[in-house]
Symmetry: C2
Subunit: 177 residues, 2 copies
DNA sequence: GTCTATACTAAGATAGAC
DNA sequence: GTCTATCTTAGTATAGAC
């Protein structure tokens, strides 16, 4: 697993091949089939691992404070997590690996985060349409940060002001139709 | 070119191979080397063509009205263009094709749009940091729309309300630090 | 300009010995 | 569990005939 992550981290998720993984762990490529059923199976294990790690961090960020404070903290944790490792972000939040869809078991982990966020948003007066705007905000900062200033904070530093603006004005008004 | 776009459109940009292009135009793969120097060269031609098309649409959207109206129209044209064809969006706005960077000549076209947008933003009191927020807004709507509701408008319909909110509140206040 | 033939690379996966 | 050997597929690119 860590060899697979290392490759994804260094050269992108698409460069992660079973040959290269085997090379790094000092085995021949066919030997890996003792541990994984296929390459997609390995992706699934990585997906589950990354989601578990994210959930752990969100938990560590705690549940204290108002719903608004909690949402701000949760958003910061998620954004930092995503921006920290572009390959991981690609695996978790985009559907861009040909042939890969997470198994039901792995996806259940991802669901937990979605539930948690939706609940907080609902408490703050944001229904599903506003929640879409929220996800677009996060996704936009994340995409721009990774693409144009990897390792920096040129976009991520706008998270809190944007969320404040969003929470102050979007929940009630501005609903299109 | 149109065969290449058709493949990208149907199966994604990564599925565009010289073999498949040749198949579609009734040639053998080596014959394509009369027309392109390499696969990356073909990507570059596609990049230039798509940028030219986008610029043409932006021009057609006209320059009448206030800076605010112009920015709203330009943003709508760009967002619709990007969402319309995910493969094209990937080629133009993400840097996710291994080994591909646009030639200086092709990139000059992309620069024109950037210039135009920056000028409008500046007229509306948005400096570079606010322009970053603007690009994140567009990128976020675009990414979510393509990933989660392709062909629909679940995210893109929020464009105008979000821009209004952004222009009304972000230019002066909310600047982090 | 187009072809055939081929070199080269590299991937995922399987068979069967040890 | 690990290996060698191999199958199968598919890609980019080049050489040289026509």
């Amino acid at each position: 697993m860590s060899a697979a992550w290392a490759i994804a981290h260094e050269q992108g998720l698409g460069a992660m091949t079973l040959h290269e993984v085997a090379r790094r762990v000092g085995l021949r490529q066919p030997s890996l089939y003792v541990y994984v059923e296929s390459k997609l199976d390995l992706y699934d294990a990585m997906f589950a691992q990354a989601n578990a790690e994210l959930l752990a961090r969100v938990d560590r960020a705690g549940e204290s404070g108002s719903a608004r404070e909690q949402l701000l903290r949760l958003s910061r944790v998620v954004l930092d997590f995503a921006v920290e490792d572009p390959a991981r972000q690609q695996l978790l939040f985009t559907r861009s690996i040909p042939g890969f869809t997470p198994s039901a078991q792995s996806y259940a982990l991802a669901e937990q985060l979605i539930q948690r966020t939706s609940r907080l948003l609902a408490e703050l007066g944001c229904g599903p349409p506003q929640a879409d705007v929220y996800t677009a905000l996060i996704a936009g900062l994340c995409a721009q940060q990774i693409a144009n200033d990897p390792g920096g904070d040129r976009w991520t530093r706008h998270l809190e002001p944007m969320l404040e603006l969003f929470l102050d004005h979007f929940p009630d008004s501005s609903e299109p139709r």
